[in-house]
């Protein structure tokens, strides 16, 4: 299978000394439970930004930004992107930051294809590892443009499937499948067993949540098959049971795959978006609890990967806080949506 990733050569954990040292500095800018709690108690966005300003790095990103959802979100995303780029610049950090860069890249490709299909003039560009113009040209038929093999084949396949089905959601489903294939490849070649298991858990969670969503949306199973590819962790039959079977069966599927603890309360599944949102939060928290103990390792890739995941969760939490305060959503409701922090 073609992949963007390079097979890592065996590296001693001490080789990560510089990267871990840098991460220890950057970790000072990671959110913690105390800051989140005080940010929850304040009245408006301005005050939240003032509380966050006690964190280095993050405070610089939010300086002189209009206190509205769009500019704040842009500032947060570009802050995260810059952090990824900084880690990715180091030879050993490249493969670690790749997982997080994928979500940016695949979202960008989806948007470029959707804009092309909607015949929309190219609008603003979002962070990504490639040149937007090149991908736009490629999507509009200029196949001579240089593009990574994975992206090239993903775009060609997406356009071909769309051409035959004219189903908009398929654009996203095909690209999600390629993204998940990349995540699985990453897990397979990961030299750290911790990161490997984390990636497998993420991979399984992603399939589960997509199946739950497909069940709620009453999608045809044939459509859902677009996202699936053969893998050693989850069979299509299990996912089919979730989508087409009764709610009671879901608990059994999750027990069978060792993921029962993502369900809430008594472990009974409810086909309701707010219940699904709680499950999504549980999944994020599970991944955080999984990587958290390894932050104290002196050397190795785990603290670096953990920091990048913590940063991505911080962006989620900050978005919840800032947007929530902007829209006047209550403190308790926001607290229920916040994910666990790297530092409790």
């Amino acid at each position: 299978m073609t992949t963007i990733q390079e097979k890592p050569v065996a590296t001693q954990n001490t080789a990560y000394a510089y990267l871990v040292g840098r991460i220890r500095m950057l970790e000072r800018g990671v959110l913690n439970g105390r800051i989140l709690e005080s940010a929850l108690k304040v009245e408006d966005v301005e005050q939240v930004v003032r509380i966050i300003s006690e964190l280095p790095y993050l405070s610089e990103a939010l300086q002189n930004i209009p206190k509205a959802p769009a500019p704040l979100d842009d500032a947060l995303m570009s802050h995260f992107w810059e952090t990824l780029k900084e880690v990715g610049r180091q030879k050993l950090g490249k493969n670690l930051s790749l997982f997080f860069q994928y979500s940016f890249d695949f979202n960008d490709i989806k948007l470029i294809i959707k804009r092309h299909l909607a015949k929309k003039a190219s609008g603003r560009e979002y962070p990504g590892t490639f040149d937007w113009k090149k991908v736009s040209h490629f999507v509009s038929g200029e196949t001579g443009e240089h593009l990574s093999d994975v992206y090239r084949r993903a775009i060609e396949e997406t356009l071909a499937v769309y051409e035959s089905t004219h189903h908009v959601q398929i654009v996203e489903l095909v690209l999600d499948r390629v993204y998940l294939q990349e995540v699985m490849n990453m897990a397979e070649i990961s030299e750290s067993p911790v990161i490997k298991n984390w990636l497998i858990a993420f991979f399984m969670f992603t399939f589960f949540r997509s199946a739950f969503r497909a069940k709620y949306q009453e999608s045809k199973f044939e459509l859902y098959r677009t996202i699936y590819f053969k893998n050693p962790y989850l069979s299509l039959e299990d996912l089919s049971d979730i989508i087409t079977g009764p709610d009671e069966k879901i608990g059994e599927v999750l027990v069978h795959s060792g993921m029962k603890n993502i369900l809430l309360g008594e472990g009974e599944y409810r086909n309701d978006p707010y219940y699904l949102a709680e499950i999504e939060k549980n999944m994020d928290n599970y991944l955080m609890r999984f990587i958290r103990p390894y932050r104290t390792l002196t050397f190795g890739p785990e603290p670096v990967f953990g920091f990048l995941y913590a940063k991505s969760i911080d962006i989620k939490n900050l978005r919840i806080l800032l947007h929530g305060k902007y829209f006047g959503i209550g403190e308790n409701e926001l607290r229920n949506k916040l994910r666990e922090c790297y530092y409790e």
Binding site: K114, E172, F212, Y216, Q217, Y274, H323
Partner: protein, 201 residues
């Protein structure tokens, strides 16, 4: 105000016919006005209930949207809204309420409203989207009711003006003119009787 007519029998007959016609027209218009007002009140009441329901639904939909937007980046928002699978088919016909032509909208939503990723979007988005798609046909129904109210109100205003002009202008004028002509004709009759009596003597 008296009309400017010659006080003769011919005119008197014409005016009497006009008066009878005006009275009949006035009665008919008054009946129409009553019917219009009745229908207007009925539509306004329906509209009030519909508006109350829609406001509750819209608040629910916007709350769901705000909750979903807590989990969406700007790029995700653009991705969700750039291309959609769902079509809104709107058939516009007309119906009559007490002779007033009002539009009638038939809305059908076709296709799947969910045209975004199952992996990168939050579950709350499904709720927000389905709330908006539930509220959309109701909003079109409300637009239909409000347009009907507007057209009925214009028609009521027009009819009331006609009724008033008949009741307070045309009919009194005709009555006054008929009375005047009658007086004139009576006077003429009396003077001719006096003249004949004098000639006989």
């Amino acid at each position: 105000m008296r009309l400017n007519v010659n006080p003769n029998r011919m005119e008197l007959m014409k005016l009497k016919n006009r008066l009878a016609m005006a009275r009949r027209g006035h009665k008919l218009l008054k009946d129409k006005l009553d019917a219009l007002v009745q229908d207007f009140i009925k539509v306004v009441r329906e509209n009030r209930t519909l508006r109350r329901d829609i406001e509750a639904e819209i608040i629910k939909a916007f709350e769901a949207q705000n909750k979903a937007s807590l989990m969406l980046s700007e790029e995700d928002k653009e991705l969700v809204t750039t291309l959609t699978q769902q079509k809104i088919v709107l058939h516009v016909t007309t119906r009559h309420i007490t002779g007033v032509k009002v539009p009638h909208f038939d809305v059908h939503l076709e296709g799947n409203p969910y045209s975004y990723s199952l992996v990168t979007t939050p579950a709350e988005l499904d709720e927000a989207l389905s709330s908006f798609f539930q509220v959309l046909p109701l909003m079109i129904k409300l637009a239909e009711a409000e347009k009907a109210i507007e057209l009925l109100a214009v028609e009521i205003q027009k009819t009331r003006r006609r009724v008033n002009s008949l009741e307070y202008v045309l009919i009194p004028n005709l009555e006054e003119t008929i009375k005047y002509i009658n007086l004139k004709l009576d006077e003429l009759a009396r003077s001719s009787v006096t003249r004949i009596m004098r000639i006989k003597r």
